[in-house]
């Protein structure tokens, strides 16, 4: 059947409006649930950096149990009052000039009674953003644990950054050298002896992701160095 142009235009307009309206309602209805999922995942990632494995069900409970304090600092190491560390969007903060960035800090008190400082990091991989959490021991220098994740790195290559064997390498590495200068942790090719405190072995075939991760560590942790130095002295 041949329809007139008028019919086609009216038909498509009505169809598109109907579809748009119904999709909007569905998206709005499911939004709170989806945001909860994202928050729970964030809690799981934060907990994973201090080696606490949380499931979707117990993440909130474990987070409240172990994360005893949250605060927001800036690149000068000053405490910013009245900013909720958990809701700070690091991706947005990193776009601002360094002095204006609000830097979240999470402090975990584990079953051993010690405090660990967890800071979020975010950078670029090969295909998209990569991010993670670094937990430092109470010397504000030695890494206690890391949890990385990525949006869409190549499976088997760059995507290996969130596997245990890669994250394990960072444990006991140090971000300051003996003179107290910030050196971060490098991700280098060709193997790293255990005695090297400032480098880990990169992923074969995941060079760009590895380099991105190295840059992410450096760029994000350097903003915290004043905070770490101030705290480390006490």
């Amino acid at each position: 059947m041949q329809h007139s142009n008028k019919y086609i235009i009216i038909y498509s307009t009505i169809m598109v409006v109907l579809v748009a309206v119904s999709l909007t309602f569905i998206a709005m209805g499911l939004k709170s649930k989806q945001e909860d999922n994202i928050r729970i995942e964030k809690m799981q990632n934060i907990l994973a950096s201090v080696h606490v494995e949380a499931s979707v069900k117990n993440a909130i409970e474990l987070y409240q149990k172990y994360i005893t304090q949250t605060l927001t600092t800036n690149s000068k190491g000053e405490n910013l009052a009245g900013v909720d560390a958990f809701s700070v969007d690091l991706a947005m903060e990193l776009k601002k000039p360094v002095e204006q960035q609000q830097l979240p800090v999470f402090i975990a008190t584990l079953d051993d009674g010690l405090n660990y400082t967890i800071v979020p990091i975010r950078g670029k991989g090969l295909w998209g953003p990569i991010w993670g959490y670094i937990a430092l021991k109470d010397d504000f220098n030695t890494i206690f644990g890391t949890a990385y994740d990525h949006k869409g790195e190549t499976p088997g290559l760059g995507a290996e950054i969130n596997t245990e064997f890669f994250e394990k390498q960072f444990i006991n590495k140090q971000i300051f050298d003996n003179q107290g200068n910030f050196v971060s942790v490098g991700v280098i090719k060709g193997g790293v002896p255990d005695s090297d405190l400032h480098n880990v072995d990169a992923i074969s075939g995941g060079t760009i992701t590895s380099k991105g991760l190295e840059a992410m560590l450096k760029d994000c942790l350097i903003n915290y160095q004043e905070y770490f130095k101030n705290k480390g002295k006490i």
Binding site: Y11, M15, V16, I26, L30, Q34
Partner: protein, 219 residues
């Protein structure tokens, strides 16, 4: 016409309708016989759980897009019919994606872009063009379910084999006993890579054709 309608109504599951449901699972399978939807079949079958969720998602989308297009088939202007089909499919896929994100977030992350890519799945467009545009709503709905199940059956079979031999697990639970690993059993790393999915699908096609001689091309 009215006589015809009566007949239709009397037999919701007439042999003809049952055939619509059963044929795509075996003799007219979208993956193994029509060789459609291979891309996602390779991508989401590393583990059983994403394969099952993907199978369900595709079944729901094919069934309801077939139903909606069949209901609208007399009103759709033929010049923009593909666009109308795409809008319907895209809307359904977005709904499925949003629901997955809200209720099975971990699986939706694993499926990532492949839920969105259901829109471009050839099975869907094929069924809409070939069946729903020319048939009544109920048979179209059954045809959609049948094709979704046919697609899903292969996905689940491949996912089962790949997760079992590739990770030693099923649905995330360990099934291969620790003793086997201690005795020297090793997971097959090849299983978790896409080429192995293609090989498994090839083997399934081979088995199916050796059982059903009529599927073999006579050339």
């Amino acid at each position: 016409m009215s006589n015809n309608m009566k007949k239709e109504r009397e037999s919701l599951f007439s042999p003809k309708n049952i055939k619509l449901l059963r044929n795509p699972v075996n003799l007219d399978n979208p993956i193994t016989v029509q060789v459609l939807g291979i891309c996602s079949a390779l991508a989401v079958t590393v583990q059983l759980k994403p394969a099952i969720v993907m199978a369900l998602s595709v079944t729901i989308v094919t069934a309801f897009s077939n139903l909606i297009i069949s209901l609208l088939r007399d009103t759709i202007p033929s010049r923009i019919r593909i666009i109308v089909q795409l809008v319907v499919v895209a809307a359904l896929v977005i709904i499925v994606d949003q629901v997955l994100k809200a209720y099975v977030y971990d699986v939706s992350k694993k499926l990532s872009v492949f839920v969105g890519l259901i829109i471009t799945n050839c099975i869907l467009m094929g069924r809409l063009e070939a069946f729903a545009m020319g048939n009544k709503p109920w048979p179209s709905f059954l045809d959609g379910i049948g094709n979704g199940l046919g697609y899903g059956a292969i996905l689940i079979a491949v996912g089962f084999i790949r997760e079992l031999f590739g990770s030693g697990k099923l649905y995330g639970y360990d099934v291969i006993p620790k003793a086997a690993f201690e005795a020297g059993y090793v997971n097959n790393g090849m299983m978790i890579l896409p080429p192995m999915a293609l090989i498994i699908i090839g083997v399934i096609i081979w088995l199916q054709r050796s059982k059903n001689r009529e599927l073999i091309d006579k050339s």
